[in-house]
Symmetry: C2
Subunit: 442 residues, 2 copies
């Protein structure tokens, strides 16, 4: 079924196509789910025009479901991207370089619309690819790159443009959230919980992209670009993972009324933008504290709109394939808009916020010898560095050497906090380096 035929003006031409032919490169769980979705509901797009997969490509030609095996096969994803047999190229190969990048560039250079779920590619080469796409008049869409089936990209790219976004922050990596939720529930250490998660399929065998915070950093870099009208600037993100979170910190944080979450934040500070991923103490009554397991959640704060909160599935073949399909439907509308929040030629990497201007509270855990004068020397060191204390907890804990002392600070500049931590590390009464965990600013 087509929109009212002859009455459609110029832009209607593309809309009148009776069949949209899709090439899909990458046949992992998402690619397979997409092929099945399109086979099951070829008329899913609102215009009613038919969609069909007309070519596939993957690394290995192993045995696949009948629906996939019968499709025209391309050994080389670049050849698929360039083939006249499809109108839209869907890239689900993954990775910031190599065949994914080559194929996306090839398609865009020919003016062919591209839909991708590749966060590394967009976070690292988004501005360059946007330039290619806009010069060729081809859309480049990547809803599925962030928060899987939850439309964070569309919200920032389209729904928030009437406002000025000040902050985007949330939980963007389901694997880390699952591991931290499990650590909190069981009291078990990171390595054990990770091993379980890998056995259960909630974490990949090579989990460093997830647990190291790099995956969340790719995603927040993309959201920051959309929120602030900058180029995605992955290289400027400050990244800290969850590998060093100990059960002791989870217990002590809980005593103070917090849980620990991996929080990704992009915020304006003065003329700069701060993009960070780090574990953060999150108040137990905060909406982000209630995000459990593999869910993702995001706050968007705008000057006029105030705060919007969105929570949903952050990954999974079904939700992610549905997000790719929604992007294909978007291509079919022939909308002409910049790939990011501004035309590619105007996209500049953001200026990182000055460390002196990024204020926040922190949790400091110090393992000290049980001897007189220790607390005095600690508090003097902090005071001398300009850090004032918000709360203080000294609590004997069995099974750990020394006495753990936990402080939370008042709001303090990042640069002041680093200096204070450096000075404390030099104190002879400390049995191990101070453990610093930031307190969520949202």
């Amino acid at each position: 079924m087509l929109l009212g035929g002859a009455a459609l003006s110029g832009a209607g031409a593309l809309m009148e196509k009776r069949k949209w032919r899709i090439g899909v490169a990458g046949l992992g769980t998402i690619g397979a789910a997409l092929v099945e979705l399109i086979a099951e509901r070829p008329d899913f797009a609102p215009s009613g025009a038919a969609v069909a997969v007309t070519g596939v490509s993957a690394r290995s030609r192993r045995r696949r479901s009948a629906a996939i095996s019968d499709l025209p096969w391309f050994d080389d994803p670049v050849a698929l991207a360039c083939s006249d047999a499809n109108d839209v190229f869907v890239e689900l190969i993954g990775g910031g370089e190599g065949p994914a990048k080559a194929a996306v560039e090839a398609a865009l250079s020919l003016g062919k619309p591209v839909v991708t779920a590749n966060k590394a590619l967009i976070a690292q080469h988004g501005a360059q690819l946007a330039g290619l796409a806009e010069a060729a008049g081809a859309p480049l869409l990547f809803e599925a790159a962030v928060m899987g089936g939850t439309p964070a990209v569309k919200m920032l790219r389209e729904a928030m443009v009437g406002d000025e976004v000040e902050l985007v922050a949330g939980i963007l990596n389901g694997t880390c959230n699952y591991i931290l939720t499990q650590m909190q529930a069981s009291g078990r250490p990171f390595a054990e919980v990770l091993a379980d998660a890998q056995r259960l399929g909630y974490a990949e065998a090579d989990a460093i992209m997830d647990v190291g915070g790099f995956d969340a950093a790719h995603k927040i870099s993309i959201l920051a670009a959309l929120a602030f009208g900058c180029a995605p600037t992955y290289g400027a993100a400050k990244i800290e993972g969850i590998e060093t979170i100990e059960p002791l910190d989870i217990r002590l944080a809980r005593d103070l009324g917090y849980c620990i979450k991996l929080i990704a934040t992009a915020a304006r500070f003065g003329a700069g933008v701060s993009v960070q991923v780090h574990p953060a103490l999150t108040p137990l009554d905060h909406p982000l504290a209630r995000v459990e397991g593999v869910s993702n959640a995001l706050f968007i704060q705008g000057r006029r709109i105030g705060r919007i909160f969105i929570e949903g599935p952050g990954a999974g073949a079904g939700p992610t394939a549905a997000a790719v399909a929604a992007d294909i439907a978007d291509v079919m509308t022939a909308a002409v808009r910049p790939v990011f929040q501004r035309p590619a030629a105007a996209l500049k990497p953001f200026a990182p916020a000055e460390p002196g201007s990024t204020l926040g509270q922190a949790y400091l855990r110090l393992m000290v010898r049980d001897e007189p004068g220790v607390i005095a020397s600690l508090t003097e060191t902090l005071a001398a560095a300009g850090v004032s204390i918000d709360s203080f907890l000294q609590k004997p804990v069995e099974g750990v050497g020394g006495v753990p002392i936990v402080l939370t600070t008042h709001r303090v500049a990042e640069s002041v906090l680093s200096e204070a931590t450096r000075r404390m590390a030099a104190l002879p009464s400390l049995l191990e380096p101070p453990r610093l965990i930031r307190i969520a600013r949202i």
Copy 2:
């Protein structure tokens, strides 16, 4: 700044306009906020093309801010809608009939894009206006009609199209949510809290559209149309307001672990769709129970995507004007898509779900004489009607005549519940008709 010039294909033509001229009809708080937003940030749209208000219309020509008084004035909104001096017509007059409808029809008939915040108009005449818009090749956008600055319309119209939506449910009226939040906090009766809300500007002088549930019903009718590919079918919505909620019910619900919220729901049941607005007992640990004051919140449940939750400001001049601006930016992309989820010619009113197929739990409060045999006769009546009891609470309450007995039922068909309530109302031991409040199904 424009998108890469010559390389843009057909659809780019509209995009190349250097200036978009906007006519704004209706200069209440939202209209005034929109005029200010555009004056402050004429380059807000991602393409960078300039936007300017080039004509205004309102009921009275009273003294307004300088920014508005200097604009070309139209006494008749239809004349503004038809004027060659603007490219987009923004309708902020309100009301399902009269000048708002006439002006929107006039603009669409001329092929002029329309942006509106008018939920009554879209809920009552959406399918007809969609037909007009699509025949003329003009977009008709209404993000601001539902949830103010929170982009529920865009999510359902565009982001969920890869999935099949099964349920949309949430809190869509900030005035009711504010009143219920206040009643819960203070224990005061509806009429007093409403009067306060009117004094404070949280409720209109004529509050029936809000407290009667009609405003929420307009909004859920629009969301149902987008979710299920139907015509908006306001006439088929079952609507119950909050006027009859008593402090006693709020107290008793709390004893059972619930708060009371006005919940709007659209759900598929078999071949039909059920669209309802009614007060509902909501478990205290449910995300909707935590939505306080004038916020709005929505669950969207899709077959593949699972559940997405979104919360944000449901009204207010700033957020609503920002949503209208985002729609203007959407018009500038020249996207061609159906107004709803399917082309207008394919939009049919939904078939209401059979009362026998809509299952749910309910709270029943019965005010009975304090005499022997009363409970036996109640429970026998329920059992005979086929309703089984989930929990039972008999609690003396001071200051009310009789003894309140509260039951919650197991899941039961709407039709069975009505019959049971009818039979109970006939029992001589009842001092007043049974009070039925549904339990939220989400």
